[in-house]
């Protein structure tokens, strides 16, 4: 479970900043353990231009937020959501999933986590927050038009 990549990201997280310029902010909580994340996202012309996250959590949730930021920043939103869906499928695979390495890159390191149901929520915390924030950002843009 504790792949070296995960521990690396845990120790040196990417995107653990407070974005000043953002389109939406969400706050998600894992009710079973109290872990929290505040995530801001900036979408420009349908591209995820920036993600920033703050909060507290275990190595899995922290590393997952970091890996996610690295993966999704700069992606077209459409593709970012595809990656998110793929990650979700992997996490729900109970250790049986064959990850799509092209899509997931470093995030394949989380395969092992899917064997531990109680930790799946940790790995998903940031991703669910991102999805939520991105959809809010889009909805907002539509409204403004």
């Amino acid at each position: 479970m504790y792949q070296e990549i995960i521990l690396d990201h845990y120790r040196h997280p990417i995107g653990r900043i407070t974005l000043e310029d953002f389109d939406s902010e969400v706050h998600h909580v894992n009710p079973t353990c109290g872990d929290e994340i505040t995530l801001r996202v900036k979408i420009d012309d349908g591209v995820v231009s920036a993600i920033g996250h703050q909060g507290q959590g275990c190595s899995i949730s922290q590393a997952s937020a970091s890996v996610m930021t690295e993966l999704l920043e700069g992606q077209p939103l459409q593709r970012a959501l595809e990656i998110e869906a793929e990650f979700l499928t992997l996490m729900q695979s109970k250790g049986e999933g064959k990850p799509n390495e092209d899509l997931l890159e470093d995030a394949v390191a989380f395969s092992g986590v899917s064997k531990y149901p109680a930790r799946v929520k940790c790995a998903l915390l940031a991703w669910m927050a991102f999805k939520d924030a991105a959809l809010q950002a889009v909805a907002q843009t539509v409204e403004e038009q």
Partner: protein, 430 residues
């Protein structure tokens, strides 16, 4: 288990089934064979159900949804897999069923949640609340469990309680249904199958009347889910409640199925651990259903046991179970009708009726009938069967009730008929 499928006409192979129920091998009083005709009150349990509960405790027991350790994961898996199995059994999605301790709690859950909606903060919540002048409709054949919670809800909210009556044959009287289920009606609660009369109610007609005025429909399925295939996705009702112990499962578990949008809008009932989203000293927010309605350490081993009961019934097939009971009911109605001085309370043909048969014996009080039968090993229920207002409607105090399940056969019915005749002899009324 194919050996248990219908072998002679519509009857199941009861000898094979009986062998799965340890208690049916015991004797009553002075060495009388046990003839259990009280499954309407509670059913007996097959070995597979007892084994499932025990294996849970011996191998996987831990706090469900709370432990991050392996035992906790296994216990959570066992519990949630049980939810899947039980949901499939009634054609539902797992996320739409809530575990309670019995059907009574399930119905109270709905009534209290609606009552709490009065204090709701969201429009969705408030739209569920009742106002003075609103109406709740029940029927005269309800079990106390599907009557008193509505009386109390009416009392708390100022709503009024109205009801559909019962005909002499023990059917719902729907002549004035449009008047009873009027514009102000917000909730219609009724039983799928009467635990006293055996009557199967016309769900469709009642739902139609309820839908016409936008009322919610609560179906008490305590006596239907154990005895026939029930598919909630086809019933078009809003809530369905039933108990595990009447369908070969353990005591201590009931099920509430609810329409998803409603469950999502409803405020919680019991509050505490495992149903929260965030908690501060002075306020809390709540998890999505079904967790929102399952406060505290859940009835985990009981869910596992009930799932095993569903598996047992599914293997035999609910249609086969129903066909078996239908044939048995037909046989019993004939046998009982042949007894002079016996009056059946409820439909006297097997059409649209299940295997709960209530009757009176002229000149002998139900208690005395039950006593003589018990002395001969025949276990039936006597009294008002938690449907006291129904007794009043018939102008009687009590009936004797025989009720059947898949482990009963015609020889059990023969024993019933003979014992009743004995009772008549004993009390000199024949």
């Amino acid at each position: 288990m194919s050996s248990k499928l219908a072998s002679n006409g519509t009857f199941l192979d009861v000898a094979a089934i009986k062998a799965d129920f340890p208690i049916l091998a015991r004797t009553i009083r002075d060495n009388k064979k046990l003839i259990y005709l009280d499954s309407g009150a509670t059913s007996q349990k097959p070995v597979s159900v007892l084994d499932a509960e025990r294996t849970f405790y011996e191998r996987h027991n831990a706090a469900v949804h709370r432990g991050a350790h392996q035992l906790g994961e296994e216990a959570t898996d066992a519990y949630e897999q049980a939810r899947d199995t039980i949901a499939s059994f009634i054609g539902a999605s797992a996320q739409d069923i809530v575990f309670t301790k019995n059907a009574t709690e399930a119905i109270n859950l709905v009534a209290y949640s609606i009552s709490n909606a009065t204090y709701g903060e969201t429009p969705a919540e408030q739209s569920l609340s009742l106002q003075p002048g609103d109406r709740i409709v029940v029927t005269q054949m309800e079990h106390h469990a599907n009557l008193i919670p509505w009386q109390e809800l009416a009392r708390r909210t100022g709503a009024e309680l109205a009801w559909l009556g019962v005909t002499d044959e023990g059917r719902l009287d729907l002549t004035d249904i449009g008047k009873t289920i009027n514009e102000r009606t917000r909730i219609v609660a009724f039983t799928h199958q009467s635990n006293v009369l055996g009557t199967i109610n016309p769900v469709e007609s009642i739902v139609k009347a309820a839908r016409a005025v936008g009322a919610l429909v609560v179906l008490d399925a305590c006596q239907s889910v154990p005895h026939m295939a029930v598919d909630v996705s086809r019933l078009d009702v809003d809530f369905v409640a039933f108990s595990g112990h009447k369908m070969l499962g353990p005591t201590g578990i009931g099920v509430l199925w609810g329409r998803r949008a409603l469950l999502q809008a409803m405020p919680p009932f019991l509050t505490g651990g495992s149903m929260i989203e965030t908690v501060h000293m002075d306020r809390a927010t709540y998890a999505a259903p079904p967790q929102r309605f399952e406060a505290g350490t859940p009835v985990a081993a009981q869910a596992v046991g009930l799932a095993a009961a569903c598996d047992y019934l599914s293997k035999i097939g609910m249609d086969s179970v129903q066909a078996h009971e239908h044939s048995l009911t037909q046989y019993a109605l004939e046998g009982l009708s042949s007894i002079q001085g016996l009056r059946i309370i409820g439909p006297d043909t097997a059409v649209e009726r299940g295997g709960a048969i209530s009757f009176l014996i002229e000149g002998i009080h139900a208690h005395d009938v039950g006593q003589v039968l018990d002395d001969r090993g025949v276990e039936v229920r006597v009294g008002h069967h938690c449907a006291w207002p129904l007794m009043r409607a018939f102008g009687i105090a009590a009936t004797t009730r025989a009720s059947f399940y898949l482990y009963n056969d015609t020889s059990d019915v023969d024993a019933l008929v003979e014992s009743i005749q004995q009772a008549q002899k004993f009390f000199g009324v024949k």
